[in-house]
Amino acid sequence: MAYKAQYYPGATSVAANRRKHMSGDLEKLREISDEDLTACLGHRAAGSDYPSTHPPLAEMGEPACSVREAVEATPGAKAGDRVRYVQFADSMYNAPATPYFRSYHAAINYRGVDPGTLSGRQVVEARERDMEEVAKEQLETEMTCPGLSGLRGCTVHGHSCRLQEDGVMFDMLDRRRLVNGTIIQDKDQVGVPIDRKVDLGKPMSEAEAAKRTTFYRVDNVAFKDDKEVVEWVHRVWELRTRYGFQPKN
């Protein structure tokens, strides 16, 4: 029987959602055009060519190398794209994604990505067109609620703040806001105004966010109630601790 990846333990909806993020088995909820995505990311003008840092690999006359033969370059690497980033902040009030699970999603499902995991934000760096592919999937699917998550290159403060009265995650730079029931973004990741108002879609209702979240909360799915996850954490900790002791050596 072929091995089927299990990804994550746990018997709750939060654990199941974590498995979905890790496996990439995600429901698409909205459409973001390529040009809108490019504008929000803010790395180049929408519709312009990808700037490059080196000629296409095919023109570079690379040396004979078994690793190069075994591992096919990503489209962005082949083209010589710059390495650029996409960075999300996710509210602790049931945003669908959490930083580690955004990282696991990128690292498991994409090649040539460099995910960075912090508490208030999560960054993925990759060749620009490769990064855009990750960003697009994360923005268009159930991984992201436009009201509880945000594209934030800097001044990311908000993940732990109380929500605004309209249920949207606080953003010091006011990059996006709720307008007529939908989230409109008019600044790029670092807060520079862009030439359009990008419709990121409707925020999830409280109930939907609670259903789709990967965050354990005592008022939704309490961490302590996911016995298998707690037991697994204990096992990881105990084995690492005992390994370090190694009295027989």
């Binding site: 602790m92 009030y93 930083p99 508490s119 208030g120 732990s160 703040c161 961490f223 690492r240």
Partner: protein
């Protein structure tokens, strides 16, 4: 037990339901999940208004741009959410956040000054050399005379030579030398002004423990002038001490200043018995002794004196150590020596403001006393054996309690706005709790790492890149006995391999090291000499209550040493 009244309730209400300055932050509950963000900017904070005015005045006076809060985010100033005050944990002192940056807080500076400018040097070797090599008689009377000479000379006064310049006593009035000894008879015969009296400063049990540890040895606790230490560095402390000690022996015992035998005395009196507060660092970090990077968690625990005055409250002892060590290691060592700027203050303040860590640790104390038959009470026979199961149980209970507080009380989550702050607070609570219950520092450290793992899985996040990578790998070195991998927690310090760039952790580790011994009611954590050196009310900074001192500093009530007002124009 989880429904108990939270210790942070009052601090959260002050911070989030009451107006401060002009932040219009009024009403609501500390459990509300939503808030009105008024985006009032920096002008809502009285201190920032004062700072903006100062910045403008400086720019005008010098004709060069200076502090201007509107430079922030290209014109979006701080204060897009409410700017709120901080309650110093364990007190009712409410202060502005800016006043907890060490640059704005004279008490914080003095705490580090008082550590950096201190060293210990033994008297016994010097006395033996005087008697056996130089044929001098050493008696309590000669010792008293020597100490009088030394307290004249140590601040920078001449004692033997002619044609000397001297330091002004009013600039160096914080400099002095006291002595202590485990020999009660000798202590009785030395003039009281010079003596740190073990029997007076410690209770009977702790005094006996100290005297058993140091025997009948005699030591000098030397504090060179703050102004000297600030102008030079920590490595200067023993050198300044050595020069004045050498000259004072020559003067007090009427010795020849040039004979070869004096070289023997010089070594035995100045160097052989030297104990610095911290070790020198390797060249890549380029710091001498008495700089914070070489300060072990055990020494840090011993420098704080709450273990003498609040012996029956082991959690308080640990919390005071957490506060002092977080300030020193995070705000000054990693925050300034190793990097620079403003951000590191926020790692430290989370551990000593708003009673959130206090609440978690006192919850643990109740839990431990209830489940483990009073194991969190001060004592040695009541401790629970340090096993994997005990660590697992207490650390899990502690961490889940703390995590759920952040979930149930959104204001605490907003106060500890960064995962690194939350991680340190939760891990410190778990670590201190286990250490108090078991009397085993490495069991406490083990709880620290389990707390980190549980936290990361519960919230899907922990600290920033460089914060939590150490916590992902640290469990393996907790009980390692190989010298390049493991050490008792008390002997680890800021330059321990995986802790060296470990912002936000070292104050917590110090707290765990302290809790190990505060739970037992020990007189000291690792070094009785260090404990005694600071068991002295003449120090400008009161090491019995660091948190109160930080509050006094923030409220501009603390009077530091080493000021230059005497020799500069009045302003």
């Amino acid at each position: 037990m989880a429904d108990r009244e939270r210790m942070f309730k009052k601090a959260m209400e002050v911070k989030y339901t009451q107006e401060f300055g002009t932040n219009q932050n009024k009403g609501g509950s500390i459990t509300d999940k939503t808030a009105k963000y008024l985006r009032l900017g920096y002008t809502q904070s009285p201190r920032k208004v004062e700072m903006a005015a100062a910045g403008a005045a400086i720019a005008k006076k010098r004709g060069l741009a200076a502090y201007n809060p509107m430079m922030h985010c290209a014109g979006i100033p701080l204060g897009q959410r409410q700017l709120t005050p901080y309650t110093i944990s364990g007190t009712d002192m409410v202060v502005e956040g800016d006043d907890l940056h060490y640059v704005n807080n004279a008490a914080m500076q003095q705490m580090w000054d008082d550590i950096r400018r201190s060293c210990l040097v033994g008297l016994d070797l010097a006395h033996e050399t005087l008697e056996k090599r130089l044929g001098k008689e050493v008696t309590p009377e000669t010792i008293n005379h020597y100490l009088e000479v030394l307290n004249h000379a140590m601040p920078g006064a001449a004692i033997v030579q002619e044609h000397m310049v001297e330091t002004h006593p009013a600039l160096v009035d914080d400099c002095y030398v006291k002595v202590f000894t485990g020999d009660d008879e000798l202590a009785d015969e030395i003039d009281k002004q010079y003596v740190i009296n073990i029997n007076k400063e410690f209770d009977k049990k702790q005094a006996a423990q100290i005297k058993a540890s140091i025997g009948k040895t005699s030591w000098q606790a030397v504090h060179i002038p703050t102004i000297v230490s600030r102008t030079t560095d920590g490595a200067q402390t023993s050198r300044w001490m050595a020069m004045q000690v050498g000259m004072s022996f020559i003067a007090a015992y009427n010795m020849c200043a040039g004979e070869a035998a004096v070289a023997d005395l010089a070594f035995s009196a100045k160097h052989a018995g030297l104990v610095s507060m911290s070790e020198m660092l390797p060249a890549r970090r380029a710091r001498g002794p008495n700089e914070p990077g070489g300060l072990s968690f055990g020494h840090m625990s011993d420098i704080v004196q709450t273990s003498r005055t609040n012996k029956e409250d082991p959690a308080k002892v640990a919390l005071e150590v957490v506060a002092a060590a977080s300030m020193l290691y995070d705000q000054i060592w990693l925050g300034s020596y190793m990097s620079g700027g403003v951000g590191f203050t926020m790692y430290a303040t989370a551990a000593y403001t708003n009673d959130i860590l206090d609440d978690n640790l006192y919850y643990n104390v109740d839990y431990i006393n209830d489940k483990y038959k009073g194991a969190a009470k001060t004592g040695t026979s009541n401790k629970v054996k340090a096993t994997i199961d005990v660590v697992k149980d207490i650390a899990t209970e502690s961490t889940i309690y703390g995590l759920e507080n952040y979930e149930k009380y959104p204001t605490t989550l907003e106060d500890h706005f960064g995962g690194s702050q939350r991680a340190t607070v939760l891990a410190a609570a778990a670590g201190c709790g286990v250490a108090i219950a078991t009397g085993n520092g490495n069991a406490g450290l083990s709880a620290w790492y389990l707390s980190m793992y549980l936290h990361k899985e519960a919230h899907g996040r922990l600290g920033f890149f460089g914060y939590d990578l150490q916590d992902q790998c640290g469990a393996t070195n907790v009980f390692s006995y190989q010298s390049d991998e493991g050490a008792p927690l008390e002997l680890r310090g800021a330059n321990y391999p995986i802790y060296a760039m470990n912002v936000g952790h070292q104050g917590g580790y110090s707290g765990v090291a302290s809790a190990t011994h505060s739970g037992r009611g020990d007189a000291f954590a690792v070094n009785p000499l260090i404990k005694l050196c600071f068991a002295d009310d003449l120090m400008p900074f009161d090491f019995k209550k660091p948190r109160v001192e930080f509050g006094r500093g923030a409220m501009r009530e603390f009077v530091p040493a080493g000021e230059r007002t005497l020799v500069i124009p009045a302003r």
